[in-house]
């Protein structure tokens, strides 16, 4: 698949999945958000379409299977693709796209029970892991898994660490984890297999906010070590 092509494939009778590539790449992710934004604009006048779900390098576009036939759905999406590719860097929500969000984190100890393992597995000191994790500005590629759970990355290959073989039944809200080259903050107490290196008190999900998710797709994120 070349940089400018996209595959459009049905996912059941009521959705198309548009895929821009098969790797984690900011450029592909920008294209996904560009298309999702274009779908949202069209949706204001075409209620047959559902909310687009962007991910690393794809967009799921639901539609009413009775009101839209598959050929028309394809034509609509193809038109949006040519429209969104001709635009300046696409934004999910222009007024705050790419905002820099700083998240204070207490690393290690009870807050980060896997910090020692992440250091040992990578032949580093714990302080090196903290420095590398907090020294990188991450991109919020997309939200999934749970409300407000943003897939951030990429983390330095020096601290990239596979998931736990056996997931934990409960990871406390605010836990900061690493899985492969991804990093994320758990918005709620949830089961999960990410390696937990720290914890924040910042609410990732708060229904009292206009947008309950602290992080939105396309945001930039930096973790700030708290002593």
């Amino acid at each position: 698949m070349t940089a400018k092509t996209a595959s459009i494939a049905p996912l059941g009778d009521g959705a198309l999945l548009v895929t821009f590539g098969d790797r984690i790449d900011p450029g592909l992710n920008e294209r996904a958000h560009g298309l999702a934004a274009a779908v949202e604009r069209l949706r204001t006048t075409d209620p047959r379409l559902g909310r687009a779900v962007p991910a690393y390098a794809s967009v799921l576009i639901p539609f009413d299977p009775v009101a839209v036939d598959p050929d028309e759905a394809r034509r609509l999406v193809a038109a949006l693709l040519s429209e969104s590719s001709g635009q300046p860097p696409p934004t999910v929500e222009a007024e705050r796209a790419g905002a820099l969000v700083e998240i204070p984190v207490r690393y290690g100890g009870d807050d980060g029970p896997d910090l020692a393992d992440v250091a040992a597995l990578n032949g580093l000191r714990q302080s090196d892991v903290v420095e590398l994790h907090a020294g990188t500005e991450y991109r919020a590629f997309f939200l999934g898994f749970a409300p407000g759970f943003a897939y951030l990355g990429p983390v330095s290959t020096q601290i990239a660490t596979p998931r736990l073989a056996a997931p934990r039944e409960r990871i406390p809200a605010g836990s900061v984890g690493i899985a492969g080259q991804g990093t994320a903050v758990y918005p709620f107490d949830l089961p999960g297999g990410w390696r937990i290196i720290g914890r924040t008190d910042v609410a990732m999900w708060d229904l009292r906010r206009d947008s309950p998710a602290l992080l939105r797709p396309g945001d930039r994120v930096r973790f700030v070590p708290q002593s």
């Binding site: 939200l143 898994f145 749970a146």
Partner: protein, 326 residues
């Protein structure tokens, strides 16, 4: 108002779900059997997507502190009025006097479905969160304090409508999805096309099934050797293939994104039947086409509209009579 005396196995407030927050990772949620949610609501004059009580396998015991007419639809979970022994069959409205207690002890019959819906006038009165009354169990919001119902909970109907004598009956309809219970669930090929393998085998619904997904026990289905896939948006009805080879059919509370290969996708018209599969039930699949899928959903919507009209005009018995004869 009504009070929950016993909660049942898995009882929650559900409506048509919250479909427009998926980009923030919020599951669509809502009734696992949207058809029966609609029927229960229409029986008491509500919008088809109003908030109702969803109960699973064994339902709650509820005490009515005021007279109320409720709509009941979906599986027959053995509903009964404790004081009189009167059976509460699904597909009808039921008038309940103040001081009565109703229970849903469950029905071990293998032919019975998994879920029933109890609707009250105007819907269950709970605050809307992100536009919906559905319970987001993982995140803990929506419904009643974001959790399953439990003893001591008090629920109110959004409207005070007291219509004694308004005895609504849902008509027997062609294209009623629950009338087709037991026949094969219809599939379209997924990106990792393992449709033939799904169709060839007989499957059993595993005990680890919940509102998130149905686990299918049968021959292990190897995922295609395409390696780890990038997570992407997924849909209800998608049949995922995790590494252990046990297919999972996604239901209403599924995560918005997933990275497992998708073997096939259940057509939208068969979602109500997915929501009625109980652990231990056997399941067969059959391949269909997009045209048939669209036709089936279109006919199902027409059937719902016909049923709604019959209930409104009180002509359900006429309709029943006609469909029995025709």
């Amino acid at each position: 108002m009504l009070e929950v005396l016993e909660a049942g196995v898995l009882t929650s407030i559900e409506d048509a779900g919250r479909p427009v927050w998926t980009h923030l990772g919020v599951p669509v949620g809502g009734a696992c059997d949207p058809w029966s949610l609609a029927v229960a609501n229409l029986l008491v004059g509500n919008d088809p997507g109003a908030a109702a009580i969803e109960m699973t396998l064994v339902g709650p015991t509820l005490a009515f502190r005021e007279p109320m007419t409720v709509g009941l639809a979906g599986a027959d979970l053995g509903g009964i009025v404790r004081e009189s022994g009167r059976r509460l069959v699904p597909g009808r409205s039921h008038r309940l006097e103040a001081g009565t207690t109703i229970a849903f002890p469950g029905d071990a019959g293998a032919r019975s479905g998994a879920r029933a819906y109890l609707a009250v006038p105007g819907g269950i009165d709970v605050p809307l969160v992100l536009g919906s009354a559905s319970t987001a169990l993982g995140a803990g919001f929506g419904g009643l304090d974001g959790r399953l119902l439990r003893p001591g909970d008090v629920l109110r109907a959004a409207e005070e409508r007291d219509e004694p004598g308004a005895d609504a009956v849902w008509p027997a309809l062609a294209d009623d999805p629950l009338a087709a219970a037991g026949s094969a669930i219809r599939l379209l090929a997924g990106p990792a096309d393992r449709l033939e393998a799904l169709v060839a085998a007989e499957w059993k619904v595993g005990s680890g099934s919940d509102r998130v997904g149905l686990r299918l026990e049968g021959p292990a289905l190897e995922a295609p050797a395409s390696g780890e896939l990038l997570s992407h948006g997924v849909v209800t009805g998608a049949v995922q293939l995790p590494p252990d080879g046990t297919p999972i059919v996604l239901l209403a509370d599924h995560q918005t994104t997933g990275g497992y290969p998708i073997a096939a996708v259940v057509i939208t018209a068969d979602h109500p039947r997915l929501g009625q599969l109980r652990p231990g039930a056997s399941v067969r699949f059959v391949a269909t086409t997009i045209d048939e899928a669209r036709l089936a959903l279109s006919r199902q919507r027409e059937a719902l509209a016909r049923g709604a009209a019959a209930v409104r005009t009180g002509s359900a018995w006429d309709e029943l009579w006609q469909s029995a004869g025709g």
